[in-house]
């Protein structure tokens, strides 16, 4: 498959892993920011291929995971209202709110629908003029252009029955917050390739300069990830701290200018609460004044939300990279994908779910010795 199979070549991957091995002289801690990268690293066993000294720390880049509990509860309250069609990306449906999730709301008669594009939700609004259609607009800069386009189109069409429940978050302030946090261990970042396909990487040189960390724009296929890691290690070993693009087939320095123009029109920067982490100043987007009429929080006045996180869940520590999922005492016990206590156990991009699904509750040694034909994991 063009642009996929080429980047999944096992032989080249082994060669790159050996190269990383040969250039690594001491331990390094590298954070991949994006949940899609976490998923791919675990699914493809990239972490098993790296030298023992290189530790991949999984960052807060799963949009499902960092959407604040209060907003989930608001979503549940809106979705439960009669006359509302509540549209969402699929993996938001199982995220636990304080008392329920969207699947339960659907089961109790709420009209909850999975759509692939917010523009499909706009079409639903056109087709159902007697209903209020709400789209749950979460995510990082990657999903923002389509969400922005949905309200842009809704406004142009004069739709009065479409609104967006927005919780957009931004990567650069999150990186700054992690680097500023006391006890930070992260020494370099793989930047999220698809975020950068929208935004370019012009925002990052000041961060690399200020904090003295290498930042490498990285893709999602195994060879992309290994190349990103390789370039990061080269910089770390050489004591350099530059912004580098290892995803050139997709990402340019300037990014998608048309998308950025639309984003600047539709959204404005705001402080955002990140689930498990807390409020990070200027770390998100909300609808700008010109589009405030399409804000579901304004349209539906939801009050009386009292959120309560599970006292066992340590998703915040996982999202900050402070602990690995398996170090949480509830991991695989009280908390499983079937009964998630926190959002990181829900989305396949969530670090806890990725660990659970791909068997990281089994030790790497057990896996490595797993039967004939299944040996040869090149972990050292």
């Amino acid at each position: 498959m063009k642009y996929l199979t080429e980047f999944r070549n096992g032989e080249i991957a082994q060669r790159m892993a050996r190269e990383i091995q040969s250039i690594t002289t001491r331990p390094w801690k590298i954070m991949e920011v994006c949940g899609g990268q976490t998923h791919s690293i675990i699914k493809n066993g990239i972490d098993q291929m790296l030298p023992a000294g290189i530790e991949m720390i999984h960052g807060p880049g799963c949009p499902v995971c960092v959407t604040p509990l209060e907003l989930i509860d608001k979503a549940l309250a809106i979705a439960a209202q009669p006359g509302v069609i509540f549209c969402s990306f699929g993996d938001m449906l199982r995220v636990p709110g304080t008392d329920a999730d969207l699947f339960q709301i659907k089961g109790n008669g709420g009209d909850v629908r999975v759509v692939y594009s917010p523009l499909d939700a706009v079409d639903l609004a056109v087709k159902n003029p007697d209903k209020q259609v709400v789209f749950f607009g979460v995510g990082f800069e990657t999903t923002a252009p389509a969400n922005a386009m949905s309200v842009h189109v809704a406004k142009r069409r004069g739709l009065k029955n479409f609104s967006l429940l927005v919780s957009h978050v931004l990567v650069p302030p999150a990186i700054a917050a992690i680097l500023e946090s006391p006890g930070n261990k992260v020494q370099a970042f793989l930047l999220a390739g698809h975020v950068c396909s929208v935004m370019g990487y012009w925002e990052y040189p000041p961060l690399a300069e200020k904090f003295g960390v290498p930042l490498v724009v990285t893709g999602f296929e195994p060879l992309d990830l290994l190349d990103g890691i390789r370039r990061t290690v080269i910089q770390l070993e050489a004591g350099r701290h530059q912004v580098e693009n290892a995803y050139e087939r997709i990402v340019t320095f300037e990014g998608n200018q048309a998308a950025q123009k639309l984003l600047a029109e539709v959204f404005e920067v705001t402080d955002r609460a990140w689930r498990g982490i807390g409020v990070i100043p200027k770390s998100g987007w909300r609808l700008s004044d010109a589009y405030r009429d399409f804000d579901a929080e304004e349209r539906f006045h939801i009050s009386g939300i009292h959120t309560q996180e599970s006292p066992l869940c340590r998703a915040g520590d996982v999202l900050r990279g402070a602990i690995k999922p398996a170090e949480c005492s509830a991991f695989g016990k009280e908390c499983t994908p079937r009964h998630p206590l926190g959002a990181t156990m829900v989305s396949s991009e969530g670090a806890c779910a990725a660990y659970y699904n791909y068997g990281r509750f089994i030790s790497a040694e057990d896996l490595a010795s797993a039967g004939s034909g299944l040996t040869g994991v090149s972990n050292v």
Binding site: I42, G90, V377
Partner: protein, 358 residues
């Protein structure tokens, strides 16, 4: 079905209901009321399509002559949406699903029941098309529909048409297959490309439509399985049709039932490029996507090449592949070797696969 019918299969390409239904163009409550309208459905639609001696008696129960021996029985309900999809319809699924459940149990499927739960307002033309597809599928599979029932629910209380089928088959002599019988060393074979049915449905489901050429693999596997059992007999230890939950769920079930580990090689799994592409786009994994015309075989290693040859010689098994083996390691788990040379556990899916955000 994409496969050409085997010789001796009745040709339904010009088939139409000989006595068009009079009166209502849609299902009304009276069609399930046991009165004249219901009788009309039977006489004008079901009987002409399914006609056979046992059904024609129209008694409360079909009376069947069966040879002595062991019987297998299975039932399944079909609620697919949309009812018609690329490569098939709920009608074919309802026949092939039960036929395949019997066949993978080592039985020769013989007789089926068919029960319909119809929603008030359901177009009769669509029901006729479904019934026709069932008749065609039954003829292809060599089974008879010998009894049935129709109920009508009020509008809004159903999804157009639900079908339940139950079937009985004769267990073959000298065959002893079961999900608990996989043994360390067994080769794991799959009869063709995985994920076709699930992605065909996904491509036409409301709100998720995408352009594709993917067609459901819906097919009756009893002919294919009979050839495998004729050739390999007791060397076949376990068979399953990986429907809901896909290949991953089936292999996990067998690993657990047999208390063994199942190891597969991801690079040897047959997946169509279109299916792989669609899965990549939607954030799905083909190992979890449903199949309706595929079987997985656990066979003694010395018989693996022979079974593979038999499969590949059959029109429904042309793309069969050996994908892994059974091991005493990682008991009760499915572990895949990735293209990268690393290993990953493939767990049973929780509920439905959810499309990812990005």
């Amino acid at each position: 079905m994409s496969e050409s019918p085997k010789s001796g299969t009745p040709d339904f390409s010009n088939w139409s209901c000989p006595l068009p239904l009079v009166g209502y163009p849609t299902i009304v409550m009276g069609h399930g009321g046991g009165g004249k309208l219901g009788n009309e459905l039977v006489e004008h639609l079901f009987l002409p399509a399914f006609r056979n001696a046992a059904l024609e008696n129209l008694g409360d129960a079909a009376v069947l002559d069966l040879p002595s021996g062991r019987l297998a029985m299975s039932t399944d309900s079909f609620v697919v949406q949309p009812l018609f999809f690329p490569g098939g319809s709920i009608g074919e699924l309802a026949i092939n699903g039960t036929v395949n459940d019997l066949a993978v149990s080592g039985a020769i499927p013989k007789y089926l029941s068919a029960s319909f739960i119809l929603e008030e307002g359901f177009p009769l033309a669509q029901l006729a098309a479904i019934v026709e597809s069932m008749a065609r599928a039954a003829a292809t599979a060599g089974v008879q529909i010998v009894t049935g029932d129709t109920k009508v629910v009020e509008r809004g209380h159903g999804d157009g048409c639900y079908i339940n089928t139950a079937g009985i088959g004769l267990l073959r002599d000298g065959i002893s297959v079961g999900p608990h019988r996989a043994q360390p060393g067994d080769a794991v074979l799959v009869s063709g490309f995985i994920g076709d049915h699930g992605m065909a449905i996904m491509s036409v489901r409301e709100g998720l439509e995408f352009e594709s050429q993917i067609r459901s693999d819906c097919a009756a596997l009893n002919g294919l399985i009979a050839e495998v059992l004729d050739a390999a007999g007791t060397a076949v230890h376990a068979m399953r049709d990986p429907t809901r939950g896909g290949l991953a769920s089936t292999l996990n079930e067998i690993a657990i039932s047999s208390n063994v580990g199942v190891a597969i090689d991801e690079t040897s799994m047959p997946v169509r490029t279109e299916v792989q592409s669609a899965c990549e786009l939607l954030g799905l994994d083909p190992v979890y996507v449903a199949n309706e015309g595929k079987a997985v075989f656990f066979v003694a290693p010395e018989a693996a090449d022979q079974v593979l040859a038999v499969l590949r010689a059959h029109p429904l098994g042309r793309d069969a592949a050996r994908i892994g083996h059974v091991t005493t390691e990682h008991k009760r788990m499915l572990v895949a070797r990735t293209a990268m040379g690393s290993n990953r556990v493939i767990p049973t899916q929780i509920g439905e696969q959810l499309p990812r955000i990005c």
